[in-house]
Symmetry: C2
Subunit: 397 residues, 2 copies
């Protein structure tokens, strides 16, 4: 998720009537008596979980939002007292989907209560590799259990239970969050009326996996990596920077990259013909994205979360490879939104999921939005996404 | 160029009648009296140049082949006495376009004399950053002048002059070599009858440049890089490995990667759920590609050659941005071949060049070959490429 890229444009200040205003995250401790059992093995207890809530619970109006790879629980509004690695970032920008969530917005907090929880393995408040291992008094590092999409679904299900919420109106997610929404529809089919899956698929593409593999390779081979035990010394930020720059290619499309940067030179009329310096705007942009990202993300978390995405294959897990068999489990209405130029979760992949739903005779709404913004479109094509989701939610099951 | 990927299948041994047999490279020293002047500044003299020749010169039958990014002068046959970084590689494999070049093959060495020269900045025999700087007695490193496509064109032109060749029947190149062929057609319009440009464009795409930028970033930030002065110690091979793995994504397509690897596990029925190990075939493949490549390539050369590709924009240079104005310079007949799934030099980009040629009313043959093999198709779709080029060359100007 290219949070730096476009979000932040045209946003509402905290005192605007359409803003959820100043927000404060909640922290809850779960699995104190019985530890959390990870799908791939290992246990953890207690588990700290960070989440945010906007709007009031009226019993049938809860919407769970699932965040993307580098996102967090802070969906909308302005963090009253930003802490942790997002501290500086949050001082200048509202939540990552602020344009979508607020009073009178597409996900209208006057009507809905919105919840978003940070996922296990992340570095934004929920237990992860940078959390303290009570057994050693030091950060877990790679001793933290491997997390999967199923773990995230279970984690959020347990949070809802703890909050006394038995059923939600909708689960909404983009990218990795869309995969999480799908997994919740499969693992807890009675939990929701609607699933809204944006820019996501039942699995990743081979190219997507290749980008992840190389990003992790870059982190693992950074000399500061030290088997993940780097919290007392220099971090493998150089490896993380490369992983982020690579991911940035997958978030944009050739068209958006060409339109935004093309072959534009950076503040000069003719190139310097430099091997080590910057000549093109595109270089400067990629450098900037990396520099900004490494200040706010933990390299170990990047390993855990991308690996969970690589391992996810909903058709294999729930349907023995058959998408229709998988889809038969789903009881929710489903909306899938793809974007024409998204090549991380391309329309062809989304159509496979949609086709599985059709074959299983499950209610499905599918929209492929013409857009040049690639995967980032779900954060950039806000007018279209607002209309689609806003309209869909006005029509109760 | 994914020389490891597919080349080597179905090849002719040196004693086969369609093989050019055992070959030996030639080395020539040029620019002894008057140094070579680089387009971006700097001079070099003398310049060592490595090239190979197959077939006999009958005056009107010379074909110049231009190699791709990680290629070399050894196009066909088996190296009699392999030396240098390609040593081990060449013991097991013939030249990089052996399927195309030889007696009775598409580029028929019974009819044509074929020349291929290694480019300036490379590490395969022609002067480059790993060559000895006579001023210091040590390798040049980053003190080697920045090279451009124009330098490569001039270098090859001078080689032909030295060999007494005033005009060639055709200049043929794939990928970076196709760009070089185009540049020769623009810089020396009277030198050739035909230009055959395969899987290449008058410039790179923005995505292509992004891959290059990040590959270089990875090399430059390898702690062993030492400002390019690493020849006495450990080399920045970790950075080069990441650059190569990334490039590998651009050589394949989603379809070929999915077909070849998909989500196949590596020698196991269920994943190990490992963060640091290998679970998928795709991971193993990318690791293998990188390991094999770093043994035979110089990281500095990777910086120089990819940068030259980034800077190349033929329309800007020769037509002030107008492809038709550029094309008016060309006197050769031109054939352009693209492949449907190539996204490093996509068909849309090739069509821009073709359209420029049409607008300038220059003779142009364009074929877009349906293929799932992505950019590598020019090395993999040998039957089709053989037919296209073989047939084209049978029809003299």
């Amino acid at each position: 998720m290219s949070v730096d890229g476009e979000v932040g444009k045209d946003v509402h200040k905290p005192d605007h009537p359409n803003s959820v205003g100043w927000t404060r995250s909640h922290k809850v401790v779960l699995f104190e008596d019985e530890p959390f059992r990870f799908e791939a093995g290992g246990t953890l207890g207690p588990v700290e979980m960070e989440y945010e809530i906007y709007g009031e619970n009226r019993g049938d109006n809860v919407i769970l939002i699932c965040h993307a790879l580098t996102g967090d629980a802070h969906v909308a509004g302005w963090d009253e007292n930003p802490e942790g690695p997002m501290r500086d970032y949050r001082k200048t920008k509202p939540g990552w989907w602020d344009q979508m969530v607020g009073p009178g917005k597409a996900i209208d907090t006057d009507r809905f209560m919105v919840i978003c929880a940070n996922v296990l393995g992340s570095c934004y408040g929920t237990s992860g590799p940078s959390s303290i291992n009570p057994g050693t008094g030091k950060p877990w590092g790679l001793a933290f259990p491997v997390v999967t999409m199923a773990d995230w679904a279970k984690q959020q299900y347990e949070l809802l239970r703890m909050l006394g919420i038995k059923r939600v109106r909708a689960i909404v997610g983009g990218s990795m969050g869309g995969q999480m929404a799908l997994e919740m529809g499969l693992a807890y089919p009675d939990l929701m009326d609607d699933l809204i899956i944006v820019s996501a698929g039942h699995r990743g593409t081979s190219q997507g996996m290749a980008f992840s593999v190389i990003g992790r390779h870059s982190i693992l081979n950074d000399p500061n990596f030290n088997d993940g035990d780097y919290y007392d010394g220099p971090s493998p930020l150089s490896g993380l920077a490369v992983a982020r720059m690579m991911a940035q290619i997958t978030y944009l499309s050739e068209e958006s990259m060409g339109f935004k940067f093309g072959r534009k030179l950076r503040g000069k009329d003719s190139p310097d013909f430099t091997l080590t310096g910057v000549d093109f705007e595109l270089e400067s942009y990629l450098n900037h994205q990396a520099e900004s990202f490494v200040k706010r993300y933990d390299p170990n978390s990047y390993l855990y979360l991308t690996r969970a995405m690589d391992y996810y294959d909903a058709a294999e897990k729930w349907g023995g490879g058959d998408l229709a068999v998988m889809a038969e489990r789903i009881k929710a209405r489903v909306m899938v939104v793809s974007f024409s130029s998204d090549w991380l979760f391309p329309p062809e992949l989304c159509r496979e999921l949609v086709s599985g739903m059709c074959r299983a005779r499950r209610p499905i709404t599918y929209v492929n939005v013409p857009s040049r913004y690639g995967h980032d479109a779900f954060l950039v094509e806000t007018e279209t996404v607002k209309r689609l989701i806003g309209h869909y939610l006005k029509n109760p099951k």
